[in-house]
Symmetry: C2
Subunit: 617 residues, 2 copies
Amino acid sequence: MTAYKIEFEPIGRRGECPAGQSLLGCARRLGIGIASVCGGQGTCRSCKVQILDGNTSEATSSETEWLSADELKTGWRLACQAYPLSDCKLHIPAESMTAPQRLQLEWLEVRTRPEPAVKGYQVKLQPPSLSDLTADADRLLQSLNRQHKLHCHRVDIELLRHLPPQLRSLDWKCQAAVRDDEVTALSPWQSAQLGLAVDLGTTKIAAYLVDLKEGRTLAAKGVMNPQISYGEDVVSRIQAAISSIETAEKLQKVVAEALNQLISDLYAQVNADQNEIVDMVVVGNTAMHHLFLKLPVLQLAHSPFVPAVSHAVDVKARELGLHIAQGAYVHLLPNIAGFVGADHVAMLTATQNLWVKKDVVIALDIGTNTEVSLIREGKITSVSCASGPAFEGGHIKGGMRAAPGAIERVRIDSQGVHYQTVDAIPPVGICGSGILDAMAQLYLAGIIDEGGRMKEEQARVRRQNNHLEFVLVEEDKKHKRSAVVITQNDIRELQLAKAAIRTGIQVLLEANNCSEEDITKVFIAGAFGTYIDISSAITIGMLPTLPLERFQQVGNAAGMGAKLALISLNKRAEAQMLSRKVRYLELASAPGFNQTFIQAGYLGRYRLLKGRREEIK
Amino acid sequence: MTAYKIEFEPIGRRGECPAGQSLLGCARRLGIGIASVCGGQGTCRSCKVQILDGNTSEATSSETEWLSADELKTGWRLACQAYPLSDCKLHIPAESMTAPQRLQLEWLEVRTRPEPAVKGYQVKLQPPSLSDLTADADRLLQSLNRQHKLHCHRVDIELLRHLPPQLRSLDWKCQAAVRDDEVTALSPWQSAQLGLAVDLGTTKIAAYLVDLKEGRTLAAKGVMNPQISYGEDVVSRIQAAISSIETAEKLQKVVAEALNQLISDLYAQVNADQNEIVDMVVVGNTAMHHLFLKLPVLQLAHSPFVPAVSHAVDVKARELGLHIAQGAYVHLLPNIAGFVGADHVAMLTATQNLWVKKDVVIALDIGTNTEVSLIREGKITSVSCASGPAFEGGHIKGGMRAAPGAIERVRIDSQGVHYQTVDAIPPVGICGSGILDAMAQLYLAGIIDEGGRMKEEQARVRRQNNHLEFVLVEEDKKHKRSAVVITQNDIRELQLAKAAIRTGIQVLLEANNCSEEDITKVFIAGAFGTYIDISSAITIGMLPTLPLERFQQVGNAAGMGAKLALISLNKRAEAQMLSRKVRYLELASAPGFNQTFIQAGYLGRYRLLKGRREEIK
């Protein structure tokens, strides 16, 4: 039987697909988790993939229904409908992935010419002799400068402490990592120059091991941020750090330890050595940034909420307790304000090539705190919206993170409630994208009204302890599994959360004399933003009603921005320039904020204008 | 009764001297230890001082006998013979001081225009507000750059960790310490900018607290190097460090602790605060330098004895465990070779203004290891002589350091043996300068011959356990004090030590095609070198026979060089240039070394030429 070789990007898996099997079927056989809400019936678009190379079957009527003409033209297909007719290479976008990849590792790869801050140079030295007593470090610098026409004149002190035995054991033939005028690491003649890009999220830490010469990601890994045990959100972590110096130190230490574990896992994956990791870029929100650098956060907790530092910071990795090459630095991208951090700068940097000057761009990084920027004619305006933990499952009765068993997709039709869980195991709760879907479906099914009021008379709506709730999944007494419900209170929480985001967008538009229709591109980043169904987000009025093709879910754009800054000094400079160009608005003090916020709480498709809401049919 | 105000430099003491009292008497009344071997009889030159200002009595015949016409013309007097006739200011040279000042603190003050690496700038900041959310560090940099036309763009990470509370407690008005483009410390609006110059000797550590703006030494203090318990000389310390990593770390730590104690003692003396100490320069021999930086020393222990690093090193003080201002650096002057270190570079830098281009200069830093440089027509050639511990009292039967009770001056005449001890307490042993004096006096009295052989028939020479020894001080049974003797073996040790130095000088002369008579200036630095009697050193053939005025005992010139590098970037650059210009000679591999060394072991006044020795009458 004929079989085709299929390559799945960005995860880099390859496998054979027997002729006559769909791409979804092939992925399942290989254990690659492509989402499939409708179960492969071609009645949803959750398994959308992009064909990068190779021939596939003609688009089916399902596909022409669910995908736009533009999408079809650019190779987008539904994996359940497309059959390979040759070897193929395909791209699985973040939103089509299921749980195992959920640690925010996916990104839209942006190519840039590698021009790293740290470069490796092969050097041969003459060993010292009675007629040449030059000191080891001076000998290294002289040979390096002569052989590569450089002007280095410093050797990191910690490297210096290892230099004499290292040079001798390498027999005076080595590779020197150079940053500016400083030699920061030494490795054998044939060795890689690796770097680490880290997105230090409040919930998750994603790390990417990158070949600095080629700009290629060699390995990636994500872990939960261990600071979670000190508080789920930024504010509670800040409070913890303020409460005692020991806690603040512990908060730094647990992150450093988690990173060290990530680092050793990553370099083991590629058979490298910690000495070969010669540079590192870290991005995170301002609080994560400060806690990681052990900077004080008291001033972040009180108005006017100013960071200790905004500009980019370079610090020796060892000063943060990180185990990479002896003299390697960590570069932290600049922050913008107390609640718009380096991760947002990284996202802006990463998406900069995705728009042109005439675009009006909205860039969102949705989380407990949602940073929103509007870019127009080269000007950037940013706000920070306190969207709260609802989208991460917090303050929601059945809420949970996108862990196995979390309901991540919901569809309600005449036959009832359909859902999909992370890892396809029986439901144990509901995560952000599921909550968003549920809210949109409840609204579309008329179970909640545009004001968010739940209708008691509807099927599956019940009253518990005098509170209304919609039963998404019935209790399973046999397996001792409780019901998963959406309560009236949950809806209220979600309304506040989504109103904050919509208000942020609206305030930015009005501050720039734009209207929603002017928006040509919307980039949505972040764990939650990656997996949400945009239609649902529009349906509940969280996002403005715009054609779907104007939206782009860019995955972990912050991590991508970190990687770009790692492999390119130009990108580092761009990030610094971007951060300086940003005008930061205090959302709550924007004119008409209250009025807009009230209107933005409504469900449905509408446009906002100066505090008025106009329904869109 | 009339009384005059007398000011004693460099120790900065002032006091009143009743008319009719000698300067020596006045010093004694004030507790200032001026040496006086002859007891104020005008029959030695040990109490020599220089009148800087004011009128004194006419020179006595003793003075015209003991001081040269040149010396008298430039204000040199014997303190026991000179009587003030007005208020006076006088300089006590290091060699005229007794013990309490013996921790190598004296120096010949060289003036240089202060142009420190770290400068303080007063800055006023606007506090942040809702309409100005600039981060603290960025706010500081912006105000600083604007108010002082600077281009700083970095704040030290440790300072950053203290910046937010500090700026607020200082009410946004502060003084910033700036080094290159980096803010390294913050202090109140009105505060000093202090620096610390350290001479890290094998035996002693001398530290000077300096006002960076004015280049003035505010306080000085010396302590013993606590590494002594790990070995008295450089070689044994190197062995200790090689023996285990823990010992190497301990060697660094004890020095850092001693320095921290010195630092806090010093800033307490001037009512300063550790945050005001914003810069530090350390000099030491190559081994001390390496141990202090925790650099490996294995390669210093084996031929070809290369340092890990020669060029100047800048390292954050905190990386060495030192407690000064948060972001302050320590600058270590460059080394020349495995056994010619930064202290010698510092000495060369400090004495550079004391000679002109046509001079032929010998600069010696006498210690266990004696570094000698010859400077001629701008070229510098250096050697290192293994002079051993004899001059510090090591390997000498009655030897001890210049501690209280050590015999430091010896005179033998027809009436017997005269001596002076440190602190004028009963003798307990003999230190370097005393040993040198004793050897010269024994030779002049004919008790030892030019070959160093002790003559048994002489008075006070006795045989103990079949070894000859000269009894300098008889046993005092009543007070249970043993005799202090000079043995035949002691003489042999001293001959080896002084031969090494004389050979070093000779090898340098021959390598530069010079003869002894060409030498126009000899600078002698170091603890021992400061206190020795030059005549005695000539008498035993340790130094070439040259007119006394060509010799200058420059005290702790290494410490002075450190201070110069502290207050002047130019001097730092000069030191770097000097160190690069030096041609280092391996003494033992110099042509004719053995022959010269044998001849240089002889006592008496002679000149050496290509391994021949020619007596000078």
